[in-house]
Symmetry: C2
């Protein structure tokens, strides 16, 4: 499958080999038929990291590990002075996640290195495949921790001291699995960065499109809303004399939907709700909501937040609203995006340009190096779900676009450097 | 305070003594400043039961305990062949309850016995004060367990085998605290039954009325509703392609309010909500709601249920709806209600007739014997709440109405029996 010649030889992705890696490495953290529980810096995470390091070493890569546990496997180029062309993603999963989210991007990188190795093509640039630590943020907050530290969004010391629910710190967990490296985060510059990922949304599948050319990552705003009420016996209080926190909270949930729909392609979700005392025959005295707002533009994200807050104030003047996270939208490098689009077109794959709804390590890396992302379809758009699925063909097409884009960039960026 | 002469002597409630009992027995299960945690058949329940038995024995009562642990303290009447005039309530509380719900009805009974004893008035009928087992249903379901078994609504064997969350059965808990009695439930007939209780609602306080003359107890219908959705990543899915279970559930919460408001004085509450997977950045794939519907008439309760179910079907055709409990409305005996009203008027207290929103042991007893209830105001209408409060004066007025109604019934029912 695939082909791009470099110096007259062909490197190509082997779909079966990539699929076999996806299926066999799923043993590290598998549960049920297709579920994955591979929390960041857990024993299962160590196992898959060891596998990755072993495979890459066997292909002739050098391995670097930084102080937050990010792994960099670098395949030598003809010119060791050029900053590597990098790609990567993550190997950790949600507590009840699937076999593709993040994992595809890393294993496609391994397959790409194998393709180069098989074809005996020495690229001009070193080629680095990166495993970013703790993208999911399920065990340790925040999400995208490793790339965030690497790119200067978070302080290493703060993040290292962050504890999971059982009181184990990131620093302790890194030590425990042997991945507390000695490289300073940010030690390696990249000529370019690419990340292949499943869409985690339904658009490509619904439109029957093979490849998503990702131009940007939506900005994210997280709000915590605490809605007050007056707790009382459900039988004894007329409807007209109630202050039911769940009634107000329900209006806020619907307001999130209304406001987000008004600002498409923005989205808004209340994923978490908890009522107190949460007993059938007691009128709820308090409700907590956790809101996730996303928009591809700064102005759009700001409008979502402002309009929602106004609506909350109207429905429940006593509500507490706290913004717990704001990550502005990220635009990828137009030139890298265009290279991905050109290679996809040359391969004859159907494609559309799109915005990533989910956050990704690439959104951090985009601040350091020219970056872009490649999406493939997700079955039913499912992700963070044990039923997450992309077919062997879909995975292979994504890996092929990745390979061809890397080889194309290898030539173009060399030409830039050498003044052609 | 108060007065009704019987055979020329006066029996009267002593407000300070009643209040002292309320405050001092609160030590059995107190937490915080005013909180009570006295779960049914717990060690704290045993302590307060032992106190009750000791006080009543000291007043010359005989004590009977039935097989579900209900306690009957009977003060002798002039005619032992007459069925007792009974009153009672419960001494167990919610896990975070207050010092008055149920407790007032029992302690006012004790104070009434003291008043009779002090005045050396031998009533015609034996006077029985009852402690019903497990009215709250917090530790063992269902609520109103003791009175329900006594009145034939539940089978003793089934109820005795019911376990709490740690696997202890009602039978084991009765044994453990020494209150597994030998009397068969239903062993004692009553000439009449009265229950004094706090309103557990805001109406009397809001209208500045001293006594509620309770004519009926609302019927209750409990529905469990499970709302389906499609779990998905909150970032990747456009608003138009979602099946968000919490959006549908929020519409159902608001429908409960709309339907109940249309059928005042009916009420409807969603006291419990739980979303899955309940994670901020995952669109909820399922939501469970627990609904409590109440209405004073059968037709009204039926309309509430029917209209709500239609609305749920409209909002979420795939929702599962399960009726988990139905307790029809109960009307109290008009003659007993009239006696309570007449004594209240004679005392010069402001009063209104009303329907109880909450369920009470009296609703079961009404099937066995002519019954009625007396309400006093609740501070802010709060109940099942550590801030539950009624003043010493309010408690004493309720107890005085109870005493005068018992003495009035003692004469009237004797006249009936003897054909005057």
């Amino acid at each position: 499958m695939s082909a791009l010649t470099s110096m007259g030889r062909k490197a190509s992705i082997q779909p079966d080999r990539l699929w076999a890696d996806l299926m066999s490495t799923a043993r590290f953290g598998a549960f049920g038929e297709t579920g994955m529980r591979r929390l960041a810096l857990s024993e299962e995470d160590r196992q898959v990291r060891d596998w990755f390091v072993g495979e890459c070493r066997a292909l002739g890569c050098t391995i670097d590990i930084d102080r937050i546990g990010n792994i960099f496997a670098t395949y030598p180029g003809r010119n060791a002075n050029l900053a590597p062309i990098a790609m990567g993603s993550h190997l950790d999963t949600q507590p009840a996640g699937g076999r593709f989210d993040g994992i595809l991007g890393v294993l496609a990188g391994v397959e790409l290195l194998r393709a180069l190795h098989d074809a005996q093509i020495p690229p001009a640039h070193p080629i680095t495949v990166i495993v970013w630590t703790n993208e999911e943020g399920s065990r340790f907050a925040p999400a995208m921790m490793g790339s965030g530290v690497y790119c200067g969004a978070h302080k290493l010391e703060t993040v290292a001291a962050t504890c999971d629910k059982s009181g184990v710190s990131v620093a302790q967990a890194l030590d425990a699995i042997g991945y507390a490296g000695d490289r300073e985060p940010g030690f390696m510059p990249f000529s370019a960065y690419l990340e292949l990922h499943i869409e985690q949304g339904p658009v490509l599948e619904a439109e029957n499109i093979e490849i998503g050319i990702v131009e940007a990552v939506q900005g994210v705003c997280w709000l915590d809303i605490k809605v007050p009420g007056v707790e009382a016996h459900a039988g004894g209080r007329p409807m007209t004399m109630r202050e039911d926190a769940l009634i107000a909270a329900s209006k806020i949930v619907l307001a999130v939907e209304t406001v987000a729909s008004r600002h498409a392609p923005g989205v808004g979700t209340v994923g978490y709700i908890s009522a107190g005392p949460n007993s059938r025959n007691v009128i709820p005295g308090s409700v907590s909501l956790e809101v996730d707002l996303r928009h591809p533009t700064d102005a759009g994200l700001d409008a979502l937040e402002t309009e929602l807050i106004a609506e909350v104030r109207r429905v429940s003047p006593g509500a507490e609203i706290r913004r717990v996270w704001l990550k502005p939208p990220v635009s990828f490098d137009p030139r890298i995006v265009d290279v991905v689009a050109a290679r996809t077109e040359a391969l004859g794959y159907s494609a559309r340009r799109m915005v990533s709804g989910a956050g990704h390590d690439a959104a951090h890396v985009a601040g350091l190096a020219p970056s872009a992302m490649i999406f493939i379809p997700s079955y039913l758009g499912l992700s963070h779900n044990v039923r997450e699925y992309s077919s062997p063909e879909q995975c292979a097409k994504g890996a092929t676009v990745l390979l061809d884009a890397v080889l194309d960039l290898d030539e173009r960026l060399l030409a830039d450097t050498c003044g052609h």
